[in-house]
Symmetry: C2
Subunit: 352 residues, 2 copies
Amino acid sequence: LSTVATARSSLKIGLVPADGIGREVIPAARLAIEALGSDIPKPQFVDLLAGFELFQRSGTALPDETVDALKECDCALFGAVSSPSRRVTGYSSPIVALRKILDLYANIRPVLSVAPTPDEKPKVDLIVVRENTECLYVKQEELKHTENGREARATRLITERASRRIGTMAFELAAARPRKHLTIIHKSNVLSVTDGLFRETVRSVPRLNEGRFDDVQIAEQLVDSAVYRLFREPQIYDVMVAPNLYGDILSDAAAALVGSLGLVPSVNAGDNFVMGEPVHGSAPDIEGKGIANPIASIRSAALMLRHLGYAAPADRLDKAVDEVVRQGTVLTPDLGGKSKTEEVVAEILKRI
Amino acid sequence: LSTVATARSSLKIGLVPADGIGREVIPAARLAIEALGSDIPKPQFVDLLAGFELFQRSGTALPDETVDALKECDCALFGAVSSPSRRVTGYSSPIVALRKILDLYANIRPVLSVAPTPDEKPKVDLIVVRENTECLYVKQEELKHTENGREARATRLITERASRRIGTMAFELAAARPRKHLTIIHKSNVLSVTDGLFRETVRSVPRLNEGRFDDVQIAEQLVDSAVYRLFREPQIYDVMVAPNLYGDILSDAAAALVGSLGLVPSVNAGDNFVMGEPVHGSAPDIEGKGIANPIASIRSAALMLRHLGYAAPADRLDKAVDEVVRQGTVLTPDLGGKSKTEEVVAEILKRI
Ligand SMILES: CC(C)[C@H](C(=O)O)[C@@H](O)C(=O)O
Ligand SMILES: CC(C)[C@H](C(=O)O)[C@@H](O)C(=O)O
């Protein structure tokens, strides 16, 4: 979806590290962007607050100032959020809220293994395109007290409009790749109305685009068997498009295939804004130990730049990361290495 | 959950092969049960109709006669159902309906790899305990036409009652296993009300059972990271308990770990009835070729018998299957073999 880079004299980048290792990996992405020098408009970073820890301190997980400031930025990077270990009144995930407020309707998650040499084909090379604003993430829930105990209900919303725009995004991505293959993920054997609408709407995208996507091959799979086949034969996938929750699960599953969640980047993209976000969480178990993998965060920065039209600088970041992974000597523990975050960052910076 | 076998002079077993390879693997389970001879009460098989193909012929996917006859049986075996490739008015999955009508509230799916020798520990040895009657499977969906196009909504129902009984079942299963470990799967960082209720209710089960489950260790995981970790470190799991849809996805994911969906059995269990069901689908791609793997179906029969209290005959079936898998020379193509269904069945029957 590389739009042509608009002429900018500077690039205003919001940084929202949020919780846990988010605060360790977002600074790494910042350093990587800075290392690009004059290849991109002069970056201007804006440090912003959000997260569960902030909520515990201040009662707000997503301050208005953060939202307002983001609206003034050209793009942003988001770290990770912690989840409360039990229900906390008034708390609601800031990342889910931001996706909605900024209308970042697509979560694009490329999952790519690094081949042993630059000339070989990677074993896993797919993109999960996840709808980012609806499904069960509308968070319309209610609790009733009945004679038989409590009953809770949540609404799963699927609209034609959101399915069409995510479908269009997925077709665009698929059309730009060599294999031009798109798998629609659903569970319409059970959810014939909601997933039926999703499937049918995505399928109708080529008809509405006058031949633009005629060369994209379409397949579909039920979400349960999609996960099964993802583990068994990942090579059958090129681009996958899925409603929000299935996309959440599928992208974690795909991450397992390439060795670590610490490698997998994403962008939350809308028509007017893009926010990079590593797929991993806040990882409270390793927080503060200095061993968080900075790669997903740096790759998310690359993806964000690519989305803004800065393809060559994005390539520079990706190539530097790939070389370090391929070399295999300076890696964090999640990849079987013994290095610290800062050592991996230094190794990557050297190559940018 | 082995209840003590009640004294029966015969065992009335409903057989519902339904669609596709269901019709190839259910007969295999029947032969395996017959081979048990006088180890179990004389089996009396009742052949019953259901499925999408039946719907296409007759307009009904689940005839009343099938439901009525099942209510007269001691237990049943269900094959698999095909899914229509587009929305079909009036069609609704018979397996989902049967689970509800017969109140088979638990779907128990043990996933076990076969170790190279009988004395070694299997690499994967876990049970997915899936709630079987609610979540999005209540199929309350509606479609609205709005100015912005169509909008579909589905209801996700989680009740305290259903969460408590599936939780109790899961604790019982965990307490009976050497590791006594239970992982609760949810996504309460997004669905704080529905998944919050599920999590909290399952957690409260030990308190209501006066010390009976005090030695069961409890863990929990968000569904996305549960799938990731299932793939990376399956050994962390012993028993997993999940709402319906997560359980559907997780059990397919776990099946990928042991080599084939064709190996994984399940029972749909309620307080008064049990129905065995291989986890695999109707597999239209291999239907009629005589190469469907009969093992999941035979293991489902074993699981059904075990659930009725016939532990020794169930062991005989499982042992015979394990020997054939371990030997590795007579296997269907899904396991890398070249044998036909009937050859695998013959090989298993020899060992019962
Ligand atoms: C933290 C959580 C709300 C979030 C999600 O479910 O979207 C995360 O899992 C992700 O994938 O970005
Ligand atoms: C066929 C389908 C309705 C069913 C389900 O989703 O429960 C199947 O996937 C299963 O796991 O038994």
